[in-house]
Amino acid sequence: MAIQQFLDQLQQLTESATAAFQQAGSLDDLEATRIDFLGSKQGQLKSLQKQMGSVDREDKPAAGKQFNATKQAVEAALEEAQQRLSGNSQERSADPSFDATLPGSPLVVGHLHPLTQTIEELKDIMGRLGFSVADGPEIEDAWHNFEALNIPAAHPARDPLDNFYLATSQKSQPADAPLLLRSQTSTVQIRVMESTPPPIRIISLGRVYRPDTADATHYPMFHQMEGLLIDEKVTMADLKSVLRLFATSYLGEEVHIRFRPSFFPFTEPSVEVDFHWNDQWIEFGGAGMVDPNVLTSVGYDPEVVSGFAFGLGVERLCMRRHGVMDIREFYKNDVRFLHQF
């Protein structure tokens, strides 16, 4: 018998035995297959071993070597199948070279800025209370930032030292009516009311600007959220109730609120709002009933509709929530800071 023929038979046996063991669906199945290939009397391997006698003498070492390799491969396939079918019936020993405590290969995931996270939460809560987000420009004219908000020309709030007035840049901009960076997001309320009939239920969020010297609690740019609800028969009790719902949602437990009198040009009555939480009163922001002059300036009839507005500083809320002690941290953008949120 030619050596090549014998080797081919061995190869075929390896393939068919491996395939058969892999396909065995049960231990009984496997046992039948084992007898078929490895049976000590009638097994296919046994019969091939018998044929080795007819291989040429000088080819015998090679044939024997290949036979042993085949036998090992078939037995390995059997063992693998046995393990597969019997679960963990085989004895197990830990591989000492595998250190399961080595660090994993982490997925590098970035972080949203904590102010963004706070803003998104505010939007989310107010959205559930029926307030949609309205956007408006950060660069504003005096009408939307002051006039329409009941802040007349001589009002101290319009002082050049307290605002970022812009050098004339727009062709259509008269020199005596400079544009400025908005000092409050209430400007958006005016724009929405000018273009939309009541009822209105919006929040506006975004950057506002006031020339403060940067320190631990001030920054010349910060974020505000302002809410506005205009409809027939809106009262201060509605304002208090909406703010209580907001606070309870934000803080996750029943919260009471109180009003302290305050003064803002665009609301009357005007109040400071405090939350009672963890046995102390926490300042939330300003609020009030929209001043009739503001309603008139946007073309609403203050005898027909009424409404409330409220505003809060996002940074302050975020600082309190996350224990940030210095507002300047928000704008340094040190990745070690950003990674904490």
Binding site: G110, K171, M236, R260, P261, P269
Partner: protein, 678 residues
């Protein structure tokens, strides 16, 4: 405003505890900021809102107590006796600047004895001045009395030494440019137009509403006095005080507006105290120019408005009590409305809504319920928010941290990166932070600066993005404010380009991005491109060149991407529509083509896409390499894979080969390339 407990109780009974009163103040509009003991007295610090200058004196605060606790208010006397000679005999008054000083009055007292003030007066003043200025000391009885009346009723007063008023004339005028003046603080100030000067025939003797002059002040030698009580314009006073950095209790009150009818009362009160304490004789009459203000116009309060605005009912008799105690004169009232005139010291009560507010704060905001049923309403998320959310989520998933940087930047930054406009950026008259007075026209320089800061801290991984407005000058009324996304990465051009592709995929934008060459000083000229989408400029992508890195002191490779979010929002498919998927398997073919160095991948891509049609599922770039020895100069080999799939049946190898061969034929024909191997 610091309030003395002992002083306050002269005008109203204080039967309540200190803590109770403080809390009540806070809840009714005078926020309690703290209390300090001074001697046997208490200094209670209250924050007085800018619309309540009436509470910048003890009587005003006492009136609040009186209305809050329903206690009578006891006002002091202000009826000084006068002698037979007339004030007009001693001084002539000329008011030349009525726009700066609507009302000026002077009284004359002769023969006073200037000496130390009595202990009761010193003690009361010490209670409210010492907590602010530890070294405060009384001056003399005359000056102390003017300060006392100032803090009693909120009307500033000034006592001149009559002998120092030269020429017997008081002239109220606008300051001349460059005029100088030495104030009581012994500093010299250079005045300017728009400032109000009290002068005699020779010089300025006081800066109206702000501070008296050093050489007309009352001293131990003084015997005759001119007592000024006047009303100065709020805005002019404010401008003057700010311009000179000279803020005084007087300017603080004039800025907010004094009682337009209270000038004379304060003058009489002051003179009465001087006569009582320092002796002397007051001349008959008053020297006066300008006019006291008008009393307020009547206001009608409809009682139904209270419930309409506040959501609570306040009984009519309580309404009447509060308004009367506050000093309102009720002219007419019936079951539906009250017509009244507000007191002159309450300039803030000119409209019905003002009365609603005052009634609410006195009656108590705690009476307003916090649990009424507010009607439900729908709310919508804006597309801008949806798009921004998807972009942020994709970027965070790609390992980027979100930065928030300032909207104003140093003037030279935009010049480094004029990507979106040719026009000069908008500048502010006031810088936001040191040197940053320019509204940014790109977010990129800000992110490069943030990258530099992180590099200086040796932070290992600095991948930052930001979404914010940029400000582009335009011909419209307002500048164009473009919502923009930018990022700065250390991962290199192709990683960032791949990220761009992922961002577009996240928004389901299927249009191809077109890349055009761009030449910006900040960017490497080869490794940068302007991005165009749907015929509009989408943004920029590129590696920062060495010069750019030097400008921003950056180490190592930096790649930037900046995109117009508004364009992305227009093209985004926020509600993707289902397309049936083929039931048959795909088949792929690898190609290795030799093309000239100048051939761009985008050309190959277009050709292959055009020849393979709908059956091309993916075109996967593998690699480029060069073999000059075999292929010659200026050639390169591009390896890529086409993945093909048919909707109609399993694509056979033969069909795939045909599509591949068709593509190769086009590559040969149009790009003069050839297939090296498959």
């Amino acid at each position: 405003m610091l309030v003395s407990w002992n002083w306050l109780k002269q005008y109203v009974d204080l039967g309540m505890t200190q803590a109770e009163l403080e809390d009540r103040f806070s809840m009714s509009g005078l926020n309690h900021e703290g209390t300090r003991p001074v001697g046997d007295d208490l200094a209670i610090e209250l924050e007085v809102p800018s619309n309540r200058p009436d509470c910048l004196g003890h009587i005003g605060v006492a009136r609040e107590v009186s209305v809050l606790y329903d206690q009578p208010l006891k006002l002091p006397a202000a009826d000084p006796a006068s002698g037979s000679d007339s004030a007009a005999d001693y001084v002539q008054l000329r008011l030349e600047a009525q726009q700066l000083c609507p009302h000026y009055t002077a009284r004359i007292i002769r023969g006073v004895k200037v000496q130390a003030s009595p202990a009761w007066l010193v003690d009361l003043l010490a209670t409210i001045f010492r907590p602010i200025n530890h070294d405060w000391a009384p001056v003399n009885n005359i000056v102390d009395i003017t300060n006392y009346v100032l803090m009693e009723v909120g009307q500033p007063l000034h006592a001149f030494d009559l002998a120092k008023v030269q020429g017997g004339q008081v002239i109220v005028r606008e300051a001349q440019a460059e005029e100088t003046f030495v104030a009581i603080d012994h500093n010299e100030y250079t005045l300017a137009a728009g400032m109000c000067v009290i002068g005699d025939t020779n010089r300025a003797i006081a800066l109206g509403g702000v501070m008296g002059g050093a050489d007309s002040e009352v001293s131990s030698q003084t015997s005759d006095l001119l007592i000024e009580a006047a009303r100065f314009d709020p805005l002019a006073t404010r401008t003057t005080a700010r311009a000179l950095g000279l803020h005084s209790p007087s300017s603080f009150r004039f800025e907010r507006g004094v009682d337009p009818l209270g000038v004379d009362w304060a003058s009489r009160r002051c003179c009465q105290l001087i006569l009582e304490i320092a002796g002397g004789e007051m001349a008959e009459g008053i020297v006066e120019a300008g006019a006291a203000g008008q009393s307020s116009e009547p206001v009608v309060l409809r009682l139904a408005q209270l419930e309409r605005i506040l959501g609570i009912h306040i009984p009519a008799d309580e309404v009447a009590r509060i308004l009367t105690t506050l000093g309102c004169l009720i002219q007419e009232s019936n079951s539906e409305s009250i017509e009244l005139t507000a007191p002159s010291w309450r300039g803030d009560l000119s409209r019905e809504i003002d009365l609603v507010e005052d009634l609410a704060r006195v009656h108590g905001y705690d009476k307003i319920p916090e649990d009424v049923g507010v009607p439900m309403a729908s709310s919508q998320r804006t597309d801008r928010d949806r798009v921004q959310d998807r972009l942020r989520q994709a970027l965070v998933s790609a390992g980027f941290d979100e930065a928030i940087t300032a909207s104003m930047v140093p003037a030279d930054w935009p010049g480094e990166f004029m990507a979106w406009t040719e026009r000069q950026p908008i500048r502010s008259n006031t810088p936001m932070l040191k040197g940053a007075d320019t509204l940014r026209t790109s977010l990129v320089p800000s992110l490069l600066e943030a990258r530099r800061v992180n590099q200086s801290l040796a932070n290992p991984l600095i991948e930052l993005f930001e979404t914010a407005s940029i400000y582009l000058p335009s011909d419209d009324q307002l500048p164009r404010q473009q919502w923009t996304l930018a990022l700065a990465s250390g991962q290199g051009y192709f990683a960032v380009k791949g990220l761009l592709e992922s961002l577009l995929a996240a928004l389901k934008i299927s249009q191809e991005t077109e890349l055009k060459p761009v030449d910006l000083p900040l960017l490497d000229i080869s490794r940068s491109a302007e991005l165009w989408l749907d015929g509009e400029r989408l943004g920029l992508l590129g590696d920062v060149c060495q010069a750019g890195c030097d400008t921003f002191s950056l180490r190592g490779e930096t790649t930037i991407l900046e995109l117009n979010i508004e364009l992305l929002a227009r093209l985004a498919e926020l509600v993707p529509q289902h397309k049936p998927t083929s039931a048959y398997p795909s088949i792929s073919r690898d190609l290795n083509v030799i093309v000239a160095e100048s051939v761009r991948w985008s050309q190959l891509q277009q050709l292959v896409a055009a020849t393979s049609g709908d059956q091309l599922e993916h075109l996967l770039y593998r690699e480029t390499y060069r073999d000059v020895e075999r292929d010659g100069e200026n050639t390169k080999r591009i390896l890529f894979t086409i993945v093909l799939r048919s909707d109609e049946g399993t694509m056979t190898g033969q069909q795939a080969d045909e599509l591949r061969d068709a593509a190769v034929a086009q590559i040969e024909q149009q790009l003069e390339g050839r297939l090296l191997a498959t």
